[in-house]
Amino acid sequence: MENLGYLLAAYAVIWALVFGYVLFLQRKQRKLQRQIDALKESMEK
């Protein structure tokens, strides 16, 4: 089991970055949807 730490570190980095990016996309989507809704609402007034 020599070098197990390196193996786990490599896989952890991959998952951390992929999950981080998915979270970033989710937050961005919510923010943009709010902006679109607010702009449409203000234009309807």
Binding site: Y6, L7, A10, Y11, V13, L17, Y21, V22, L32, Q35
Partner: protein
């Protein structure tokens, strides 16, 4: 989002999840430990697919940039930009997992050989692409400049791929195409490549959708101001 998109997304997420679970099971349970490389050689099964996705992403950026300059349709710009973003993330992963593997395998984290250096240059090219896109005062001009970088920058992708065959490098050669893998290793690698390809498709659809939403916000703001 219509019902066709919801069904497509559900299928993609389901397929991606199943393939990723299968890939992890194969890497950690199915495939035997390589004799010379030891346990750390298992980084190979994710390192190579991650590099494949980076190349694929930059190829999609290249094609979409050509189509944007030709058709001037915003959807091609959205796909080009989304794919470049994903390409940068996956090149970052290549540049991190490579040294993590290199340290126990070569005894060093980094060396300025042709493969590693051209990979770093590739990462820098597309970071510049994203900076040009985000810093441009006029989004249309940023899209045009980005498209040019997306086309010209792609030249580095075949260079990165061919470095190990053109020059003597520390990095291993393309053993996949030279029959250097056993059947078990090859099957595991192919499943991992399939899993990451589906992940790329999911991410690029999602991210390109957000670029389109950003354009919609800009359009609505202009309409409101008029």
């Amino acid at each position: 989002m219509n019902s066709n998109h919801t069904l497509r997304d559900s299928i993609l997420w389901g397929l991606g999840f199943a393939l990723m679970i299968a890939a992890l099971a194969m890497v950690f349970v199915y495939v035997p430990t390589e004799k010379h490389g030891g346990i750390v050689q298992r980084i190979f099964y994710f390192h190579v697919p991650v590099a494949w996705v980076a190349f694929l992403a930059f190829f999609v950026t290249f094609i979409s940039s050509v189509l944007y300059l030709w058709k001037r349709a915003i959807k091609w710009d959205a796909v080009a930009c989304a794919s470049a973003e994903i390409g940068v993330i996956f090149t970052t992963l290549v540049l991190i997992t490579g040294p993590i593997w290199a340290k126990p395998a070569w005894g060093i984290w980094w060396t300025w050989d042709a493969r590693l250096t051209t990979s770093l240059v590739l990462w820098l090219i597309y970071v510049v692409y994203l900076l040009v896109r985000s810093l441009a005062a006029d989004p249309a001009r940023g899209a045009r400049y980005g498209a040019v970088i997306g086309i010209v920058g792609f030249i580095d992708v075949p260079i990165v791929f061919l470095t190990v065959n053109l020059w003597r490098t520390q990095h291993p050669t393309t053993i996949i195409f030279e029959g250097g893998l056993t059947t078990t290793m090859l099957i595991t690698l192919l499943v991992c490549i399939a899993a990451f390809t589906v992940l790329y498709v999911i991410l690029v659809i999602r991210s390109a959708g957000l670029k389109t939403m950003e354009a919609e916000v800009r359009r609505l703001r202009i309409m409101k101001a008029e």
